[in-house]
């Protein structure tokens, strides 16, 4: 039986707000590390699409929880995919 890891309270967004109830957020984790993806392919629009919100921007790592090396690969892949019209640059 595994329990969720204790929360790291030093995180900015986890700071208790004026003695009020704290929100317990699920711990974010890098999906690419979990699925052992070593190379982010720009052709895989299904995967990349999950990191593109409505506006067409690249989802920041503070939201998605992706680790730095994987975020770098992901950003590169998204930019390649945009060039070949697999993904949009902007969506109105």
């Amino acid at each position: 039986m595994s329990y969720p890891r204790p929360r790291d309270d030093s995180r900015r967004d986890d700071r208790p707000s004026g003695g009020q109830r704290r929100f317990i957020r699920a711990r974010k984790s890098c999906r690419f590390c979990a699925e052992k993806i070593d190379y982010v392919d720009y052709k895989d629009t299904r995967l990349l699409g999950s990191y593109i919100p409505e506006r067409g921007k690249i989802l920041p790592r503070r939201i998605s929880g992706t680790c730095q090396p994987h975020q770098r690969m992901l950003a590169e892949a998204i930019k390649r995919a945009r060039n070949i019209a697999l993904l949009p640059f902007v969506t109105a």
């Binding site: 052992k36 070593d38 190379y39 052709k43 390649r80 060039n83 070949i84 019209a85 949009p88």
Partner: protein, 154 residues
């Protein structure tokens, strides 16, 4: 020492042969037969320059994420090419002058694949190491048990 030297030589050899991925979009207004003809034509350009087209992947017709030359659809094709890079220059030149090719993208993937391979082997090594320590621990426990047996016999 000799191991390091061979490694350097191999690096030089592989640097001559690179792996590229050339993706291009053919205008949907071209007919099926013309698409086939164009694909063989372009792969011949690469092979005639001395490269090897190891894979031709037709992703087929799909919607473009944004209009290119007022077109909203395109026929996607991916070539995987092994070569020195000179063939790529020629291939790109040909695609630029071909009107049916509305967009192309060349990506050099050998370094990235090597990096991915490195991660994979590092992970395998880590897994093997942890397995080894676990098994060696159990083996040492067995050894301890055996010595205690021997002591009993004495």
């Amino acid at each position: 020492m000799s191991g390091r030297r061979t490694e350097v030589i191999q690096k030089e050899e592989t640097s001559l042969m690179r792996v590229y991925e050339v993706m291009f979009i053919i205008s949907p207004t071209t007919e099926e037969g013309d698409i086939d003809k164009l694909i063989t034509q372009l792969s011949d350009v690469a092979t005639s320059q001395g490269a090897q087209v190891t894979k031709i992947d037709r992703m087929g017709r799909r919607r473009l994420a944004y209009p290119i030359q007022k077109l909203t659809e395109g026929y996607y094709v991916v070539f995987t090419i092994e070569g020195t890079g000179l063939e790529i220059a020629e291939l790109e030149r040909r695609m630029r002058v071909t009107d049916a090719v509305i967009r192309y993208l060349t990506v050099r993937i050998d370094q990235e694949l090597k990096r991915a391979e490195k991660f994979r082997s590092a992970r395998a090594a880590r897994a093997a190491a942890s397995r080894a320590t676990r098994s060696s621990r159990s083996r040492s426990q067995i050894a301890v048990a055996e010595t205690s047996d021997e002591e009993d016999e004495e």
